[in-house]
Symmetry: C2
Subunit: 404 residues, 2 copies
């Protein structure tokens, strides 16, 4: 149920980064469910993880291993290895060790990632038995297979790829993501893996990723639920001929902007594949006093089931948007100063319905597949936006039948 | 789609309180949509209102009139008179004035209440034209008609009635409520009207209502949306033969307890009529450090669309409950200390699935129409509970088709 144009793009290979997949039969038996990403020696790795207090076992291990110059990522779909206690930690580490012995590396240089159902033990034996096949097909060209191997309730594979110029030389940035439900990432997304051949030092790479994630994956929501397994990783192999990207330079600005653009597109693709989604809703909050306030208002609208069902029905029931803004918890908000627009149609101003508003105008905007709601708070100068989707019968169907 | 036993009970009339209804054709043309409640001179009135920053016009007027010894309540369904700007205020006041002239009172002693669609002008002419009929049938016995007149998407009328003994004499407490969607009341519920013949001074009556509402209407949620029109009113006519209820006496305790019981039942009835609800879910959070923390965890679970769809499907997908607890924003929560129960079945302990848990045990609880989820945080001694319902196809249907 992709909303809009979501074809899988041409993926530029990233020198020094290889991907291999295989089918371990973890949940699905038909398609690949294991992904291994291998980075050549000397690269750097940045990552952000879920802020859910109950991190999954692989998140705890990956966070620990991140400081030890990781070279391999091991991802499985079909099982989240979350809510699995001490056994889960042992299983996640055992998977890392199994991959390490296949590639002649060390377990502490492997970052594990899992996505799927919560609370089931990870089938480590199946996973390790399948690893040799994944390692055997490691190749720089396997981004498409990789994107498919990490899918769960996703209906299409998500990828984006860019080439930018740094110091007169090409730098490639290519990434994949997955996710369609339990999506309100907090400091990370469900899963995103991005690689570049840029030459860049780890702490600068981490800063670049953190900034990009804040304005992309942390600005989307399908259902307001933050997963226990969210993670986004940025690998830099350093294999490009471009000069090293250094802090506070025009080159850093160009690189950071490209990483942000990649993150934004990957995040948007997740919303376009939101469970049961039929529409993409962009909620823009302007004239806020702070970014926190703007995001708070935008997310309150984005999470309102009443607003989301109205979008599904193409019903310009703007009273629900007004009520959501009013309960967002912003101190001393004055209704008289607030303006609300559906697309370019002003619906609320001066504390009530805009005199020029007609139901037909509202209806015309609501009938579209991509809709922008703009809320002007009349309190300041800050602008933020959040992406979400509508709430349909299929959302209930998908989530009521998830485990059957 | 009532969940469980929701028959309209025998309503004990309250001496000094009369109710009249009529059909003004505001939205529905078939059934009464106007309710007038008249209290004899000398009674007292307490009320709580929505904390949505964008209060509806009638809420603003009612809040102002509350200090002026109100004697009449004027309620309409079918139109919320919210998001209607200055015109809305004029319309709400004009309605009060119209009723005042019918009953030979003054407009400032009328509290107006509206519920229905947001953003449409209140049809004042229709409303005032119908008032004489409502005033003509004022009677102490019309609680059933009153409960039906205030309904919107409600599928059944909601009432409760008790007689308690105060100082050897009978005191009656009878109340009605309405609401099925846009329900996460904050300091009030959609609409609740309760009356008693107790003799009690206004400030004590207000304290009694505020305490009762905090633990009843403020502990329920259908969809996490706080309405612009929430209000709950407690009228005390003083017509009982019982002695005056004074602060800090056993009589006050007995009275307050009865008011709390009435509020709790009225609140529960709203959840049992939650839009599309097929199940009543009681979420109990124990061993919290504070009430705020306990309510925060309980409401995070109650608002999770993933949790609510799992309940609809009778799927013991407890990982979703675990993830919701983890994202509730409680500082320094330790998964190892958290226990989660479905009914009496322990599903999570020591950071993972309980060793004795079986899918069949979870399934058995999930198949029931009324389910208690208990979360023990292992941090303190405070216990709170929140009532909610599941999330079904019909929720989407009702809200997608609300205005058609």
């Amino acid at each position: 149920m992709a909303v809009g144009q979501c074809d899988f793009p041409t993926m530029h290979p990233v020198k020094g980064i290889k991907l291999g997949t295989c089918n371990a039969g973890i949940k699905q038996t038909q398609r690949d469910d294991i992904l291994v990403i291998a980075m050549a020696e000397g690269g750097s790795c940045a990552a952000v993880f879920t802020q859910n207090a109950f991190c999954a076992a692989p998140v705890l291990i990956a966070r620990e291993h991140l400081t030890l110059e990781p070279r391999w990522l091991l991802v499985n779909s079909g099982n989240a290895n979350a809510g699995t206690g001490k056994q889960g930690l042992q299983d996640a580490f055992a998977s890392c060790a199994a991959l390490a012995s296949e590639v002649d590396g060390i377990a502490q240089q492997v970052l594990p990632f899992s996505t799927g159902v919560i609370g089931e033990p990870l089938p480590v034996a199946k996973l390790t038995a399948a690893l040799p096949a994944a390692v055997a097909n490691l190749a720089e060209t396997h981004w498409d297979r990789a994107a498919r191997a990490i899918m769960t309730t996703d209906t299409f594979a998500k990828g984006v790829s860019m080439v930018v110029e740094i110091g007169g030389e090409s730098v490639t940035i290519t990434g994949i993501s997955k996710g369609a439900g339990m999506i309100q990432p907090n400091m990370a997304t469900m899963l995103g893996f991005i690689a570049t051949d840029a030459v860049i030092e780890q702490s600068l790479l981490q800063r670049c990723l953190s900034v990009a994630v804040e304005k992309s994956f942390n600005r989307i929501s399908v259902d307001g639920d933050t997963s226990t397994n969210d993670a986004c990783v940025l690998l830099a192999s350093g294999y490009s001929d471009a000069p090293e990207v250094l802090a506070d330079t025009p080159e850093y600005m160009a690189f950071a902007e490209a990483v942000s653009a990649v993150c934004k597109r990957l995040a948007e693709l997740i919303i376009r594949d939101g469970e049961g989604a039929t529409k993409l809703i962009r909620i823009v909050v302007e004239q806020a006093q702070s970014a926190a306030e703007a995001v708070q208002v935008a997310k309150t609208i984005a999470h309102s089931p009443l607003v989301k069902t109205a979008f599904f029905a193409s019903d310009p029931n703007w009273g629900r948007i007004l009520a959501a803004v009013g309960r967002a918890g912003v101190e001393d908000m004055e209704l008289e100063r607030v303006e609300i627009y559906l697309g370019t149609v002003c619906i609320v101003e001066n504390g009530g319905r805009s005199p020029g508003y007609t139901e037909q105008d509202g209806q015309r905007v609501m009938g579209q597949e991509e809709i922008t709601v703009t809320v002007r708070l009349g309190r300041g100068l800050v602008r933020e936006e959040v992406l979400t989707c509508d709430f349909s019968y299929d959302y209930v169907k998908i989530n009521a039948e998830y485990r059957t």
